[in-house]
Amino acid sequence: MNLKQHSVLPGFGLTMGFTLFYLGLIVLLPLAGLLLKSATISWDQFYAAVTDPQVAASYKITFGASLVAASVNAVFGLAVAWVLVRYSFPGKNIVDAMVDLPFAMPTAVSGIALTALYAPNGWIGRWLAPLGIEVAYTQLGIMVALTFIGLPFVVRTLQPALEDLDVEIEEAAASLGASRRQIFTRVIFPTILPALLTGFALAFARALGEYGSVVFISGNLPMKTQIVPLLIMTKLEQYNYAEAAAIAVVALGASFVVLLFINLVQWWSRRYATA
């Protein structure tokens, strides 16, 4: 191992062993439990459980809303991170700290707060209701909640990338005759794209599993606004642990595929950026 000689941390064997042990304990053990639980039912039962129309509809709702929320965060989170990195203004530290609030708030509190705001009699909802826009108790409400909880992931992963981006490079591009648009699309964007994708992936993954804030704002109607985690909870409520595990395994598999895909794009974009 070449790494061994150059590494500042002593003992590759020890650290690697600890890494595997730790990952095994924290990540793989619960996942193995999940798989074992779902394996207690036959393949036919498994298939029937995960293709039930209510389950299929909730997969669509959860994945769809999570994608929308992560995309919204990718766009507006980029703007927030840009402002926080590039400009200095009074109260910047406070704004910066505010970004972490969705991390820190108990999700149920966020859910109730958002519902209170967006319900037809809430501060925001009452202005939207006459326009025929319903947020609380619709799929739009789910997206709002997921956007709220996902924002810090995008901003916090983008900030270091933007800080690394030298203003000189932009100046160089400008002096070589690039338009502002070209500077953004050709210089800035490719450099921060890997970080943006990471932020997107984190926000997306977080949204898939979100339960606490969504159940308050979604209305929980089967086929319309019922999310996967709620369906899993309902199965547990009926002591149907195996089917709950089956639904979770499919959700997990699907998110793994999505995350893997994002990682591939990221790998590709990194090569593209350095090429």
């Binding site: 037809p120 609380a136 270091p160 159940v215 086929m223 309902t234 547990l236 409520e237 009926q238 002591y239």
Partner: protein
């Protein structure tokens, strides 16, 4: 930028953990004359048990000289039962329906099979029923179950899959249709009217399907639905526990809501039981049994009535509480649905009637 909050957070969590460990350590060194029990209950009993625990602790101190501390855990009834099955050390459970208590027996074997006959009245010291909460002046003119399916009426109820209260709502509506179609619920037990019963059940199924088409929000628990109706202003009618409906009116003033009592409803029997295995391990069986028995005393019954539960025995309950409860024809789950186990399997389990009404 990022590291300072993280360090602060790290220190903060270390502080929290040490507080937790410290507090945990303290509880061990308790006074030998002190006894503690955990009552795992469902959502709308918060106010009742808060007062009852205080009253019973005084009673127990007089009787045994021990200082009693009753800790409470509240939540959706099904979820609470699952916590006990999964190891929450409840000395007594006071849940929304016998089915949930029975699940503790079936899944974890923490109590004997005859638990329900150990206390009077099927181990349900107080009862309740399902009523409608409507907005002041009853603008939609909701008088009975069939008004729920009038055009443009929006109904709020929790999800029967996750909420014990919602199952009572659902079965009450079903029973209403059976009564309307059959004229007399006794027909259900008459073998000669099997055809009529089957037809009535078919009608009930259609009715329930229609009711749920009027439901815009399915919260996971009874308190959630009450919040949706009362605080968010969603819906024209809330199907609620009678005690919960009274409480909403009491808390928020009678100028906003009123209670409508339908022509017929269900007798909801929230069940209580000592969790034998846990109480024996804790050595709290005597106090746990006395605790539940005290619910049947005139003091306990009066407190139940004060908190809007219908007492089993009106003797010794102040008249001002008794007159709150309007007369209404009530049927039991056993009479109409053949017991909880059957009702659960037929209506609420996966693939049951409730799932079918949401089939596209």
């Amino acid at each position: 930028m990022i590291s300072r909050p993280f360090v602060a957070f790290g220190l903060f969590s270390i502080a929290l953990v040490s507080i937790a460990v410290f507090a945990g350590g303290c509880r061990q060194s308790a006074d030998p004359n002190a006894v503690e029990i955990l009552n795992v209950s469902y959502d709308p009993t918060r106010e009742l048990y808060k007062e009852f625990n205080r009253v019973f602790a005084e009673h127990w101190a007089r009787q045994s000289g021990q200082t009693l501390d009753v800790r409470m855990s509240h939540g959706g009834s099904g979820k609470q039962a699952r916590s006990v099955i999964d190891g929450l050390e409840a000395d007594v459970v006071t849940l929304a329906l016998a089915y949930d208590v029975d699940a503790i027996r079936r899944k974890a074997g923490l109590m004997p099979k005859d638990w329900q006959s150990r206390l009077p009245n099927n181990s349900a010291p107080y009862t309740s029923t399902i009523v409608f909460l409507v907005r002041k002046g009853n603008p939609r003119g909701i008088k009975d179950w069939n008004d729920l399916v009038k055009p443009d009426v929006s109904v709020i109820t929790p999800n029967p899959k996750t909420s014990g209260g919602a199952r009572w709502n659902y079965l009450a509506a079903w029973g209403y249709v059976l009564k309307r179609e059959l004229g007399d619920l006794a027909e259900l037990h008459d073998p000669n009217s099997a055809d009529a019963v089957a037809k009535a059940n078919e009608k009930a199924r259609e009715f329930i399907k229609e009711v749920f088409q009027h439901v815009k929000v399915l919260d996971t628990g009874a308190r959630g639905s009450t919040m949706t109706f009362v605080q968010r202003g969603i819906g024209d009618v809330l199907l609620a526990w009678e005690n919960e409906a009274f409480l909403s009116i009491h808390e928020l003033g009678p100028d906003k809501f009123e209670i409508v009592v339908p022509s017929i409803s269900i007798l909801a029997e929230p069940s209580v039981a000592v969790v034998d295995k846990v109480a024996e391990r804790h050595g709290t069986r005597a106090v746990a049994e006395a605790y539940l028995k005290h619910l049947y005393s005139s003091e306990g019954q009066a407190l139940a009535a004060k908190h809007y539960y219908r007492p089993r025995d009106a003797e010794g309950v102040p008249e001002e509480y008794m007159k709150r409860f309007p007369d209404v024809e009530l049927f039991t789950v056993r009479d109409v649905f053949g017991g909880w186990e059957k009702a659960q399997a037929e209506h609420f389990d996966d693939g049951g009637v409730f799932d079918q009404i949401y089939k596209p």
